[in-house]
């Protein structure tokens, strides 16, 4: 195919996509309208199962299977990164020298670290009650740990962050989510069905049946995945060097 013909095919495809998008947008409900048919039904279903945060109810109850897919995407993406960024035979590790940290940076990092870590854990724990949940809290808690790299140095970070343990936690949490799903299949009605546990009292930590458990599993999975991912990137950026002369 010549360059010209390829351009025409591209233009035809682009024009078709644009026409379909415009046609779809013309039928959309107006911005900020009063009618939310899906939203109303989701809120109703969420309140029926005593889950205060409707988004969490959608994520871990009504659409729990979608979340399983998303978790699998994150898990396999991190797995791919770990394989791609491993130390190859023409590379070696060089201990990074202790870095000088400006005192204000050190003070800031060491004050903010516990606050950020606690906020992350709070967001995970209250996923079924207030905005947030396992994913958001997990990312916050995992990145908070890395403030130690800012405030002290790489060696200090490595001491509090045994990567192997986080890899195990990541895999355990992912399989925990699956086990919860299978428990729903065996003890309840369907895979990941939220019919096993009592729904509890509205707006308390233990409300929502399996929602808090699945939420916690996702929190642990995401925190583990982010720590492992950042560890591999940090290894490559700080420690691993190519052999000279190759």
């Amino acid at each position: 195919m010549t360059r010209r013909a390829r351009l025409w095919v591209l233009l035809a495809g682009g024009a078709g996509l644009a026409a379909l998008l415009v046609a779809a947008c013309l039928r959309l409900p107006h911005f900020g309208g009063k009618s939310h048919p899906y939203g109303d039904r989701a809120v109703h279903a969420s309140l029926a199962r005593q889950t205060a945060n409707t988004i969490s109810s959608v994520n871990f109850d009504q659409r729990a299977f979608d979340t399983l897919g998303e978790m699998t995407i994150l898990f396999s993406a991190v797995l791919g990164c770990v394989i791609l960024l491993r130390q190859t035979h023409d590379e070696h590790r060089a201990r990074p020298e202790p870095a000088e940290v400006a005192p204000p940076v050190r003070r800031y990092a060491l004050v903010v670290l516990p606050v950020a870590l606690l906020s992350g854990l709070y967001v995970i724990a209250h996923g079924q009650l207030s905005p947030g949940g396992g994913f958001q809290g997990g990312v916050v808690a995992a990145t908070a740990l890395h403030l130690l790299y800012l405030g002290a140095d790489y060696a200090a970070l490595e001491r509090i962050r045994p990567v192997g343990a986080y890899e195990v936690a990541d895999a355990l949490a992912a399989s925990g989510y699956l086990v919860m799903g299978i428990a729903g299949l065996i003890g309840g009605t369907a895979f990941l069905a939220n019919t096993l546990l009592p729904y509890g009292t509205f707006n308390t930590l233990s409300s929502g049946g399996t929602v808090p458990l699945l939420n916690a599993a996702i929190g642990m999975e995401v925190a583990g995945a982010v720590v492992v991912l950042l560890a591999r990137f940090l290894d490559q950026a700080v420690e691993i060097e190519e052999e000279s002369g190759t």
């Binding site: 900020g32 905005p131 958001q136 990312v139 990145t143 890395h146 490559q236 190519e242």
Partner: protein, 86 residues
């Protein structure tokens, strides 16, 4: 009133996104990207989606710029190593 806030947030997002594209140095670009993450989180919150806002704040303004900066550091270190050999 609420519409005005939404318009301001949208304009901020457009401004930050343009700045992120216009910045050429990857290190600075990562910083602008982090600012864009914060502004997008504000936009999501204004549009009554605090959950999406939190995700955006955690991933878009902390995690992605951090990964970018680590990658840039690795590439720069490799270039320096090659130069030293010559």
């Amino acid at each position: 009133m609420a519409d005005a806030v939404i318009v301001v947030a949208l304009l901020l997002v457009a401004g930050c996104a343009t700045a992120a594209v216009a910045t050429r140095d990857p290190m600075r670009q990562a910083l602008v990207l982090s600012l864009l993450g914060v502004v997008l989180a504000v936009l999501f919150t204004v549009l009554q989606a605090p959950d999406a806002g939190l995700s955006q704040l955690a991933v878009g303004s902390a995690l992605t710029p951090l990964l970018l900066m680590l990658t840039v550091r690795k590439v720069k270190r490799r270039a320096q190593g090659k130069e030293r050999e010559r």
